[in-house]
């Protein structure tokens, strides 16, 4: 039987236990706590092919911690699986902020998943690095949001302008545009149509299709009937495969000089390996390719470490498109924290607005809504691909940079049919 004195002792211990987190969480101990960086990654679901980005996050965290952390504090990643579903995103970010007390947030992958979190970030005035969400901050215009992706200013309209610059240089007058009925592709197609109009090109065919369309033969016949000289395509990986195969099966006019533009898929090892030589001649967007104008010791070091991890995890062993920019997200956060000597969102944002940051993909400066000041989306032409061996893509010459001019490594091979046969 417990005495009253024993009961009071028990109450005192319980109260101390309950109070401990509050005491430990006070400012006295704040400097010893790790800096928490929160994100959702699509580990499962239709966008799970983007999960190799997490390797970029983890390599950055390991590098920072090996160098002593940020402001003398270790960095800790808090990552949840959003299952590729936009419906899961708001709850995940509420938890990252209110329960996990993250200091910095990285957005989910892409525009579709990022859109639901933007009102929350704006309302709570939080600091966030955006991950590949095209035009992700154009509506919210939040001054503490910064893109890790190289879309550039006015990205909704201009990110694929390089394709149209190439078309213009080839004297293209008639263009066809097709896109998947999804946020990213719709934005790309709408922006493309606007740029085509600006360049005085006639859009002879402009049509969208539902996601997961498996046969494009009807659409390719209709495109051929329009007699275009360039075809701008905004598609997702499965559609990209079906379109490339459809062109091989149905054929395309010899007048077509450029084919591609905004096809998602040919940037990934899975499609490069499965389609192999069928990709020859394609002119498509990319973020990084191992061409001489882009190689630096820093990016080489990144891929030297990324590849064995990716192979072990069974994800894209090339990882050119996404993982370097996930590492860049960490570098941007690190620069903001160390530069402002704070994890205060306003101070971090002010630093990034005022200073360019050196990263493994080059120097980045931001506009007032967090776009890169200079668009650095690549237009590359795939050529000289033989067989399905992925290793050939690590060598220069297979993904030749045509645009931007500052990184150019070759001239356009045209028309498309001739380039396909090369």
């Amino acid at each position: 039987m417990k005495t009253r004195r024993q009961f009071h002792k028990l109450m005192a211990v319980t109260a101390a236990g309950l109070a401990a987190p509050a005491i430990l969480g006070s400012k006295v101990f704040a400097q010893d706590k790790p800096i928490r960086v929160g994100a959702s990654v699509s580990l499962t679901g239709p966008l799970a092919s983007t999960k190799n980005g997490q390797i970029g996050y983890e390599l950055w965290r390991d590098d920072v911690n090996a160098a002593g952390g940020l402001l003398g504090r270790k960095v800790e990643l808090v990552i949840y699986d959003d299952q590729s579903s936009a419906a899961n995103v708001p709850a995940i970010y509420s938890k990252l902020v209110d329960v996990d007390a993250c200091d910095v947030l990285f957005s989910p992958y892409g525009a579709n998943l990022s859109a639901p979190v933007m009102p929350f970030i704006k309302q709570r005035d939080l600091f966030m690095i955006g991950m590949f969400g095209l035009a992700g901050n154009d509506v919210a215009k939040h001054d503490k949001f910064f893109h890790s992706g190289p879309w550039g200013p006015n990205s909704g309209r201009d990110w694929a302008r390089g394709f149209f610059d190439l078309a213009k240089a080839q004297g293209v007058k008639k263009i066809a545009i097709i896109n998947a009925d999804l946020e990213f592709s719709k934005n790309a197609a709408k922006g493309g149509a606007d740029v085509a109009k600006e360049y005085g090109m006639e859009v002879v065919f402009n049509q969208s299709y539902p996601p997961n369309t498996s046969d494009f033969s009807s659409m390719i016949r209709n495109i051929n009937a329009g007699d275009p000289e360039a075809i701008f395509i905004a598609s997702y990986p499965a559609d990209s495969t079906a379109i490339i195969r459809g062109v091989k099966e149905i054929g395309i006019s010899d007048k077509v000089k450029l084919f591609g533009g905004a096809m998602i898929g040919p940037q990934y090892g899975a499609l490069l390996g499965s389609l192999g030589p069928e990709l020859n001649g394609l002119v498509n967007s990319h973020t990084f390719v191992p061409e001489p104008t882009m190689q630096t010791p820093a990016i080489k070091s990144f891929f030297d470490r990324y590849t064995p991890i990716a192979v072990k995890q069974g994800v894209d062993p090339l990882g050119f498109y996404i993982p370097p920019f996930y590492y860049v997200a960490g570098q941007l956060a690190a620069a903001a924290i160390t530069g402002s000597k704070s994890v205060d969102p306003a101070k971090m944002a002010a630093f990034l607005h005022a200073n360019a940051v050196d990263t493994i993909v080059g120097k980045i400066a931001f506009t007032e809504i967090g776009d890169w000041k200079e668009r650095r989306v690549l237009m590359v032409q795939l050529r000289g691909i033989k067989g399905n061996d992925l290793e050939q893509f690590r060598n220069p010459g297979h993904q030749v940079i045509l645009d931007p001019p500052s990184l150019k490594t070759g001239e356009l091979a045209a028309p498309y049919n001739k380039a396909r046969a090369s």
Binding site: T44, G45, P46, A48, S49, K51, D181, Q207, S208, Y209, P210, P211, N212, T213, S214, D215, S217, S218, M219, R221, N222, A225, P237, A238, T241, A242, R245, G246, K248, E249, I250, G251, G265, Y268, G269, A270, L271, S274, E278, G314, V315, D316, N388
Partner: protein, 292 residues
């Protein structure tokens, strides 16, 4: 833009796509149409079949040969799945539709996760010599990528229908759906008959999987995009009408191809459901189903 070659090519493409849809719907026609078990995991089982085929093609086998090899393991998988379903629900006083849907929804998720863990989340496709080339017949250009899988459906459906209508065990499968007790009186075990039927339905998933992966690349979650269409085919054909499902699938395929060619491809996903609503309004028991 109404040229005769675009029209003819659209119709032929629609027939081929419809035939592939019929392959996908065949197993559901047995489990849902005959056994009245709402197996919404069937499209995911088709995707599992596609991954099975993909695995064997990595060793140099043709997808169709790989599918034939998969018939027995998938039949056994179906037998095990039904045994589990029966143990959980039927022996405990019968399953209501909601419980069954929950079970098969859960099964579908488990299969998707297992496929993700086993194969990763990247798209997988097969490389066969006939994929990428076409058969030219006058103004028609018929991709072998669609033609070969499309030919699988009528052959499989004919084989299944022959079995169901011309053999004793097939007749027992059709009978179990109508009067289970009468089957018991005749000395047959209804659970055993259903288990066998579920095994056959699951075995057809590997044939449909071969068709699916020949048409285009697949990923573990690809089954989700087919659920609505295959249910529409089975319901509109009339519950239990296996040959009717081929006709309905081809009608849907042609309608989708024509809508894609002449209106807007974005409208094509609604075609199956528009036809379903119209068909059920005219004939609630389905176009080939018997009135009850």
């Amino acid at each position: 833009m109404l040229s005769i070659d675009i029209l003819l090519n659209a119709i032929v493409t629609g027939i081929l796509l419809g035939s592939v849809y019929a392959s996908l719907a065949l197993g559901l026609g047995i489990t849902f149409g005959i056994l009245h078990i709402p197996n919404i995991a069937h499209p995911t089982l088709v995707v599992a079949g596609a991954f099975f085929v993909y695995t064997l093609t990595q060793w140099g086998l043709d997808p169709i040969v790989a599918a034939l090899i998969g018939l027995v393991p998938f039949y056994l998988l179906g037998v095990v799945l039904y045994a589990f379903y029966s143990a959980v629900f039927e022996r405990k006083g019968g399953a209501n539709v909601l419980q069954s849907l929950t079970l098969f929804f859960g099964l579908s998720l488990v299969i998707e996760i297992l496929l993700s863990l086993g194969f990763g989340s990247e798209l997988k496709s097969v490389s066969v010599s006939y994929i990428g080339s076409s058969l030219k017949l006058g103004v028609l250009t018929v991709p072998y990528r669609l033609l070969i899988p499309a030919l699988l459906a009528p052959v499989t459906i004919a084989a299944v229908w022959f079995y169901l209508s011309r053999t004793n065990s097939g007749t027992a499968i059709r009978a179990v759906a109508h009067e289970e007790r009468a089957l018991s009186i005749a000395g047959l075990n209804p659970a055993s008959v259903k288990r066998h039927a579920f095994g056959i339905a699951t075995a057809t998933a590997v044939i449909a999987g071969a068709a699916l992966i020949m048409v285009g690349p697949i990923e573990p979650f690809a089954g989700r995009y087919q659920i609505g269409r295959v249910f529409a085919i089975v319901v509109l054909a009339g519950m239990g009408s296996i040959p009717g499902s081929l006709v309905i699938a081809i009608i849907i395929g042609i309608a989708e191809a024509l809508v894609s060619s002449y209106l807007n491809p974005s409208w094509s996903p609604g075609v199956a459901f528009a036809i379903l609503l119209l068909g059920l309004a005219l004939r609630p028991q389905g176009l080939f189903g018997a009135a009850r």
